[in-house]
């Protein structure tokens, strides 16, 4: 997912830095209202009609970075929100559409372009199973009322004149959770959405965003109000820059003010051990167990395959285990999970031990705003929290591998990554057409290293995780 950081993504990351500088200088409330004017001028790249609309959208984006749901806080000003830290309001949904930024892309999935020659063959008319295509004024015309969006016409046309024109957000959503409202703007169905984050990465207008914990973490960190423990997802290797070692990252996190730095891989080892026990029982009973570490996969099973939800392992996720361990030793610490994942934000809302969730980019912005350049740091502090069994959770197939090693009995298992593929697999399981005792489900293709907020190529990330997993 790392490829092509767009201008929209860059703008968002510059916004993180500017907001963090304001928090640091104590001027957040005083200067937040003028931030969009300062950052968006006549000369900055513009995508909308005028800089005024651009600024209005930017103000909405600021609300999400501050950590507030946009729709619910439509009528509250930025100053009011900035003055209300620590937030009292609960976050109702993690992934949200910035209505004003949504360009209302066309809803019609198939459209006939000018390349149509009104040929004699009329393959499109013949291919259409519902007679939705007629010829009007020398050109094929699709009756959108009748069209069932099967795509046969597009495939049949000899001139490629029929275009599939799906919105990037709904194409990215494997669970059909995105529809359009009466203004043709994207709408997310909260009952279907599992906060996987695919739509956020897919929208070229940057119109879908995740509510962030960044500013509240910064308020805690800079004001030294409470001690913070940072928990790094197993996929963190290489995410902080070319050749920036894990040990250097740990040193830098302490330097910036985090009291404790833990690998979530430590929790993953405990998760794996508990899941191995559960699985042993299931194998004896010849039943099937689903992994529970990916919250997006878990939510999908619960939302769409309720009858299979009993098969999900009852073991807590590595993040939950790591956070519980930290809190039991240091009850007054606040815990911050850092990873490439949006679904963890949703999981954290239901877990009292996880206070905040950040993405790698948000943490990097925190370094940048504090003038810490990892490339210029030479000191290191070694990680000794976990071994291979926990660290390899970062990529698809890693958990399966750990369990194959930990469970004494012989068993068949399967690993599936990607929500679309998982949905198909679950249909097979529902029809009892599977022959294994364990299913490892990861919502993102490639597992966590392929998460929507990964900073580097996932093949490289997997390689780095593997090397790290084997170092003692």
């Amino acid at each position: 997912m790392s490829n092509n950081i767009s201008e929209v993504v860059k703008l968002k990351r510059r916004l993180y830095i500017e907001l963090l500088k304001l928090v640091k200088s104590g001027n957040l409330t005083a200067e937040i209202s003028s931030l969009s004017e300062r950052m968006i001028t006549k000369d900055t790249p513009r995508y909308r009609c005028c800089e005024f609309k651009e600024r209005a959208i930017f103000d909405e984006r600021i609300k999400a970075v501050l950590g507030f749901n946009i729709a619910e806080n439509k009528d509250r000003g930025l100053e009011e929100l900035a003055a209300s830290f620590p937030r009292q309001q609960k976050i109702s949904s993690v992934v949200e559409v910035i209505d004003m930024a949504c360009d209302s892309c066309t809803i019609d999935k198939y459209i006939v372009t000018d390349a149509c020659r009104n040929c004699v063959a009329h393959k499109c008319v013949n291919a259409c199973p519902v007679n939705a295509i007629v010829i009007i004024q020398n050109k094929a015309y699709i009756d959108q009322e009748k069209c069932v969006e099967c795509g046969k016409c597009a495939r049949a046309c000899s001139y490629n004149a029929i275009l599939e024109n799906q919105r990037p957000c709904s194409r990215a959503c494997e669970l059909d959770a995105i529809s359009s409202d009466s203004n043709r703007q994207a709408k997310i169905d909260g009952d279907k959405c599992v906060s996987c984050g695919s739509c956020i990465a897919a929208c070229p207008f940057g119109a879908i965003t995740a509510v962030s914990d960044l500013i509240e973490v910064a308020v805690n960190l800079f004001a030294e109000e409470s001690k913070l423990a940072v928990m790094l997802a197993p996929s963190f290797l290489g995410q902080f820059g070319h050749q920036q070692s894990a040990a250097k990252v740990k040193y830098a996190l302490k330097k910036i003010g985090f009291e404790l730095v833990r690998e979530v891989a430590a929790g993953a080892e405990i998760t794996a051990a508990a899941e191995a026990e559960e699985l042993t029982e299931k194998i004896e009973a010849n039943e099937t167990l689903f992994s529970s570490c990916c919250p997006a996969f878990k939510s999908m099973v619960e939302n769409e395959f309720e009858e299979l939800s009993a098969l999900i392992s009852s073991t807590d996720s590595p993040m939950a285990v790591t956070a519980a361990e930290i809190k039991s030793k240091n009850p007054r610490f606040k815990t911050v999970f850092v990873g490439p994942c949006t679904a963890k934000k949703a999981e954290a809302l239901k877990d009292k031990n996880v206070d905040y969730v950040l993405t790698f980019a948000e943490l990097l912005a925190l370094f940048t705003a504090s003038n810490i350049n990892l490339a210029q740091i030479t000191k290191e502090e070694k990680f000794e929290d976990a071994g291979e069994l926990g660290r390899q959770f970062a990529y698809a197939g890693g958990l399966q591998k750990s369990l194959q090693e930990m469970v004494a009995a012989d068993f068949e298992s399967k690993q599936v990554d990607g929500l679309g593929k998982l949905k198909k697999e679950l249909l097979l399981i529902k029809a009892d057409k599977h022959k294994y005792n364990f299913l490892e489900g990861m919502a993102c293709t490639g597992g966590c290293v392929g998460g929507p907020f990964s900073m580097i190529n996932q093949n490289l990330a997997k390689k780095l995780v593997k090397v790290f997993a084997r170092t003692q």
Binding site: Q244, N373, L374
Partner: protein, 79 residues
């Protein structure tokens, strides 16, 4: 033999703005071009972190890059 030097900044501000994409795009250059370039990394180029990501090609500094811009710079200036 490589006659050209490309230095990519891998400092934190540049990494945040896509230095990893630049590194990857260089590795994906076609073989003929790639072998003419010596790739180096830098901790900071010119202190222009506000215009990240930054790279230097044959002594000249380029700011606010992306893989497409870098590709063009390399093709237009390669010796």
């Amino acid at each position: 033999m490589s006659k050209n030097t490309l230095k990519i900044c891998i400092g934190t501000p540049c990494h945040l703005m896509g230095a990893a994409d630049l590194m990857e795009s260089v590795e994906n250059l076609n073989h003929k071009l790639r072998e003419k370039i010596e790739l180096k990394t830098s901790h900071c180029i010119d202190n222009c972190c506000e215009k990240a990501p930054v790279a230097e090609f044959n002594g000249k500094v380029y700011q606010d890059l992306n893989p497409e811009k870098l590709d063009k710079i390399i093709r237009e200036n390669i010796k």
